[in-house]
């Protein structure tokens, strides 16, 4: 204790915590200067980094080679995505319907006003900036393309009937050409040894993502770009039973068998419809 007191203030050498006052001032100044210089260097480094970055596309995409696939409605339970509801209890499915409606607000004709109508079934390659303000054009995807699952004809997306509509979306990756000329399509099956076929209606037809939505040129080039969607209407689901369903996007260049990455190229979810 005595030693510690001496350490805090040594009256003989006039040292406070092992240093004299002037020493402390110097060391503080040193560190101040040191950190100012270091911060300066750091800022300089980040500034030059930002100056050298390409604003349109990242320098490397080695970590993002194949798109992830997501599901709407996206309700997570303890074991991942879960769509559990009771037909007779509309409180159990109201949330799903709202999620889908909210999600599809980005696909109203008003929201898609700036996008162009595309008819070609090939990649929409744009080498020049044809859009306004040095942008590139994006193709329209409106919710009516989802037909029965658009929420327009059936605002409850088939939930009360027990034939719910789910929406599959593929994550966007800059300059990613899926399918190698063939439009990638969604394919949903039961998981596990359940070999019976899953009865599904796909919208648009065949559950394809039209090639003219690809490639994606990045946020700066295509500010109004919206991901194409595929709606899956599940039919004849056995009631009061839990199923595990996987929806894959099938197409050349889309990996869906990475064990480390369950959302790459596919989406798995559990379904249980009670009545």
């Amino acid at each position: 204790m005595e030693n510690f007191r001496r350490f805090v203030w040594n009256p003989e050498t006039k040292q406070f915590m092992g240093r004299t006052l002037i020493n402390w001032v110097w060391i503080s100044l040193y560190y101040l200067a040191f950190y100012v210089v270091m911060t300066g260097l750091f800022s300089l480094a980040l500034y030059s980094l930002m100056r050298t970055l390409n604003p349109y596309e990242p320098d490397y995409q080695d970590q993002l080679k194949s798109p992830g696939v997501t599901l709407r409605p996206d309700v997570y339970g303890e074991r991942g995505l879960q769509i559990y509801y009771n037909i007779s209890d509309n409180k159990t499915w109201d949330g799903f319907v709202t999620t889908l409606q909210t999600f599809l607000t980005a696909y109203t004709p008003a929201a898609q006003l700036l996008n162009v109508n595309c008819t070609s079934d090939t990649y929409f390659i744009q080498d020049t900036f044809d859009g306004p303000n040095k942008t590139k054009l994006s193709c329209k995807f409106t919710s009516d393309m989802l037909q029965n699952c658009s929420g327009l004809t059936d605002p409850t997306f088939g939930f009360p009937e027990g034939n719910p509509c789910l929406i599959i979306k593929m994550n966007r990756i800059i300059k990613f050409y899926p399918g190698n000329g063939t439009a990638p399509r969604v394919d949903c099956t039961y998981v596990g040894d359940d070999s019976r076929p899953l009865e599904v209606d796909y919208y648009p037809v065949n559950g394809t993502f039209n090639l003219h939505y690809f490639p994606y040129y990045g946020k700066k080039a295509q500010p109004t770009y919206t991901n194409p969607l595929v709606a899956v209407k599940l039919l004849n689901i056995t009631r009061n039973e839990e199923f595990k369903i996987v929806c894959r996007v099938i197409g050349t260049g889309i990996i869906s068998d990475n064990v480390h990455d369950p959302y790459e190229g596919k989406v798995e979810f559990r379904l249980k419809i009670d009545n």
């Binding site: 060391i27 040193y30 040191f34 950190y35 270091m38 260097l41 750091f42 480094a45 980040l46 980094l49 930002m50 970055l53 349109y56 596309e57 990242p58 320098d59 490397y60 995409q61 080695d62 970590q63 993002l64 798109p67 992830g68 997501t70 996206d74 997570y76 979306k169 994550n171 966007r172 990756i173 800059i174 994606y216 990045g218 946020k219 700066k220 295509q222 770009y225 991901n227 480390h260 990455d261 369950p262 959302y263 790459e264």
Partner: protein, 894 residues
Amino acid sequence: MTPHCTPLTPAAPPQGLGPGAAAERLLRDGPNELRPPRGTPECLKFARQLAGGLQCLMWVAAAICLVAFGIQRGQGDLTSADDVGPGRLGPSRGWAGWMPGCQGGKGGWMVVTYPVQATVIREGDKFQIDANQLVVGDVVEIKGGDRVPADIRILSAQGCKVDNSSLTGESEPQTRSPECTHESPLETRNIAFFSTMCLEGTATGLVINTGDRTIIGRIASLASGVENEKTPIAIEIEHFVDIIAGLAIFFGGTFFVVAMVIGYPFLRAMVFFMAIVVAYVPEGLLATVTVCLSLTAKRLARKNCVVKNLEAVETLGSTSVICSDKTGTLTQNRMTVAHLWFDNQIHTADTTEDQSGQSFDQSSETWRALSRIVTLCNRAVFKPGQDNVPVAKREVIGDASETALLKFAEATVGNVAEQRSRYPKVFEVPFTSANKFQVSVHEAGERLLLVLKGAPERVLERCGSVMLKGQELPLDQQWREAFESAYAELGGRGERVLGFCQGYLEGPGEGLSAEQLPGEGLCFTGLVAMIDPPRASVPAAVRKCRTAGIRVIMVTGDHPITARAIAGSVGIISEGSETPEDLAARLPSVRPRRQARARVLTGAQLQEMEPAALVDALRTHPEMVFARTSPQQKLIIVESCQRLGAIVAVTGDGVNDSPALKKADIGVAMGIAGSDAAKNAADMILLDDNFASIVTGVEQGRLIFDNLKKSIAYTLTKNIPELTPYLVYITASVPLHLGPSRTPGPLPDAWAPPSPDAWAPRGRQALSPPRAAGAMQSFAGFVDYFVALAQEGWWPALVLGLRPRWEDTREQELQDSYGQQWVRLPYAAPIRALCPYRAASHPLYGPSVAPTHPLYGPYMDRTQSPYGPIQTPVWLLHIPYTVPICSCTGPYMA
């Protein structure tokens, strides 16, 4: 206690014990052997290594990590695989620590050369029995070439001489005779010690001690009773571990609290806590220390110092006092002719080991006569078949002084054998302790040449004339005075002086008897003085020690005068330094003689001194010589030095030195002359027995201490870059992969210590370079981190505050700055397959990228590295930072 001086009652039992009595006593006392103490089993040593301070910290960290891993795994969180990292560190560190420990553990204990057989008289009959069957009271016979089978009291002896050098350090053969000459058993003449060598003569003795109760047995148990001292580096490291552990727990605790406040689950916060503790553990340190020490040990081995105990290398560097044995370490351990006195002049002979020194004027007639006496009056002969061996290295049959004279004659005049054959010997009277001279008579043409050598005063008694430049002059008073002063001078130098004279006899040589030889009227030719000369390299080494602030103290079993002389000639007592005795002689009035720089203390004086008085003497007199010391006294001297706060190195070769060697902070044994006991007790062995090698060792040791301090500081720098991510993670919400595993750490730290040779001499202290370097590494690391993320699409502005969404397991379409959407990988999760910070913040990142490269290198595939490859150009980013980092750590490295 002087039982050896009491007269024997009943007087010498010549017929010895009966077999019954012998068997009974054997049963009572046990066999006549030294019992080795129990050693530490190897597995225990290993266990101890595993339980050392730093290792303990690792084990705890490893254990917590494993527990956390188990829990998280159980919860299905695959990211926790990372937590196992430190679990691997513990055992491997333990192993690394044990390996050097292994080296130290080699070798058994004190191995004394046992006499195998003994000649014993039992019931009047002589038997050859195994030496371990001897009992107290047995009467044994020994003869030249035997090892003494037990401690025996001499009953009768004929020219018996023993070599006590391994026990007392005396290099000269000691005469053994029945009379008690001293109270101390080690000094007295009537005891021969177990395991010493009987060189010549015969003796009959009564066994007074056997086995562990012998003098050597007692020394051995003294040695095993002395605990090894903790080395300074061990103490330093322990202290260091305490501090580090304290800091680690403090910081860990702080972060734990912060994490809890932020709202992390308890387990996650716990993992944080562990991660910080582990981040703080300088796990590279042990390996760094070990490697630094091994490198130096290797270097030392090339310079003839074998280090048994790695830590000793460093201890050697902090040595402040060297207690050196005289014989063999400071001296050459061979009697050599040092001076001659003839023609009323002292001539200096060449005493260098390789005969490279200046010789004296050999043109005088007197020299011719003297050299002839030296050659003829000498019973020593070279062993045959050594014509090509240098004279100094040839093996000789004969005692030390005769050997010295023979070699001297061979080296200066040449061809002793031829000279001897020219003057065939007709008669001789060997040297006895009673008459103290040796005479031989040789044919020289018609006459007979009588040559005599012996104690100078006895020789002079027999002379009537003296030779000057070949002329015989009457021996007058003036000559006697000249003789006296020369004798006194040479004797005062600690040299053994012999007088030489010659005379001519008439008549045939046959039938001469000792009585017929003339008792006077011979012609005195000169004196020859011999000494065990200091090694050529020693004075310089002693001087070097002094300039390095190391005090050299001589501790010897030899005579004070000899000790003083050698101390003077090697510089342990510097020129002009006076002992209190000198002062008293010069200035009788000066009373407290504390201002005397030097002091020679004998064992007898030590015996009477209080321990405090010895400490006081060591403090007052910077130049100390201890003569005639016993093993216990050596121990006391070492302890007294240690009480003064000194780090003591002790050199020694004999069994008698082993307790002191063990007690010393570092014991240095002699590789050639050293007994196995000494080598076992020592931490270091000088292969060439040369004191100068110790100085090399000290030099290397000092270097290593500096280097270690630097290495430790350098190792510590990594803590800062390892801690900053936590700080940034929590304060700036930047997504970072935080886990307790930092696999690439230790190896580069350990294997890339800059060559100590390249490290700077001490002195300049840079301003907190490790911390500064650590901060720079942090900045460098974060630059790399931001660059790598930006190049993959995550710009710095987006990254700040991104953590909650980044870590959200339900977020599968997190948009980067380019609008791309990313899923979250549960494996290597938070970083979404990017972890450049950790690679970049490695402390040796600038100087040595290579070791970490395999883990983060661009060609590595994700299956092997959970963090995935990082684009090559990221590796170039740190380059601007290596300049300040290296220039900052530069003073520590170059």
